[in-house]
Symmetry: C2
Subunit: 208 residues, 2 copies
DNA sequence: CGTACTTTTGAATCGCATCAAATCTGGTGG
DNA sequence: CCACCAGATTTGATGCGATTCAAAAGTACG
């Protein structure tokens, strides 16, 4: 992977990382199916997804895969900063653009730059909240409620941009893709929802 | 709340916090139903549960409560370090022992003590992993699989200590308490599980 | 133009939510 | 110490909705 033209860095990275880490970053274009790292592999780089989608998944005993997280823009496996091994694997589900930062440099930077450490903690806190929200969503009964919750929490103004397939969304909200397709169709028929190629939009009731 | 006799601090706190923050900690005994903080309240203290159980929950639109997290030993709402408001409420579900640390002191400490910041990041990373595991659990189909997953991931050697009611466990794994009771009974009848007042134990198959 | 994947619809089964009600438990106050 | 109450535990009956298995049509990509 080549070193990065600094001006090409996503603003999320430029605002977060100290300059010395920005220069240490490398970049690559990844295609669908590429594996960023394997379960039980040793972390040497921290990956940041700028474009495309990465799923963070674990392979169960019967070989079934459970999606733990989808990432379209952000770090993958921040929690593995000091882990000797990955506890999950990361795979591209759509072609994309990936930045990588050496983990030891990251660790040093966090120790030597306390403002950077504070920003990093902030990022982890946001991630914690996002995960708690996801747990909340998975606790809801019924596909419909989960869809609405997803649009309300991950979308903006009742609109959820579709950056990935509905199938991967189905996995994320913990239902089969068949159930999701059927529920979306039913909701649209009831006028609760509008679908397009690029987004899901909650149909606002005019009078409350 | 009185200041704390330093030697009474849980070791988890003594290993994590700088001494100046340890002296700033206060302590209280809380009883069932006590509310540590309210949804939308302003965070001024960071709470650490040493004994008893706290649930971290959000009240939904129809007034139903969703349990986001149960804490028996650890920080509650670490993610609210820089939040202007809590996005959830925290309630004791059993009497317990609570330590409180002033949030501004915590923020200052994280900025001035980089080793402390590194330990804090470590703690957040562990919490992230725990939450991802919980999402994984909630994605499983069937109460039985969730129970087994819970015992495997939160227990030790196939034994899960019951620090709280089965009902609160049911909420945590996202099923009704009736379904949990029935499933446990069925699993016990099939010899998959042993129950006692204090723990659930997976029945090991002798031969694989 | 074929291959792989997503999207879609169908049918059957069944596990779980739901509503109800009884028993048991620990804790409180009289 | 006992009556009482709130909550936990348990069992029962019912119906819906999601999983599962199957198959077809649509779509992207090399």
């Amino acid at each position: 992977m080549p070193p990065v033209n600094l001006s090409a860095l996503p603003s999320a990275l430029r605002d977060l990382l100290p300059v010395e880490l920005q220069s240490a970053a490398t970049h690559r274009l990844a295609k669908r199916g590429d594996q960023l790292f394997k379960q039980r592999g040793k972390p040497v780089q921290m990956f940041f997804v700028a474009e495309g989608e990465v799923v963070f998944q674990r392979v169960g005993i019967q070989g079934e895969t459970v999606v733990l997280q989808r990432v379209q823009h952000g770090f993958v496996a921040e929690a593995s900063l000091q882990s000797p091994r990955y506890h999950c694997e990361a795979v591209m589900t759509s072609p994309g653009s990936i930045f990588a930062i050496p983990i030891d440099g990251l660790r040093n930077g966090l120790l030597s730059d306390s403002l950077f450490a504070a920003r990093w903690i902030n990022m982890l806190n946001q991630e914690l909240k996002r995960l708690r929200t996801q747990c909340e969503r998975l606790s809801l009964v019924g596909v419909k409620d989960r869809v609405l919750h997803l649009i309300e929490t991950e979308g903006k103004d009742g609109r959820l941009m579709l950056r990935a397939s509905l199938k991967s969304i189905a996995a994320e909200i913990g239902v089969t893709h068949e159930a999701l397709y059927r529920t979306l169709a039913a909701m649209e028929k009831q006028g609760l929802l509008q679908r397009s190629d690029v987004e899901l939009r909650i149909q606002q009731r005019r009078t409350l």
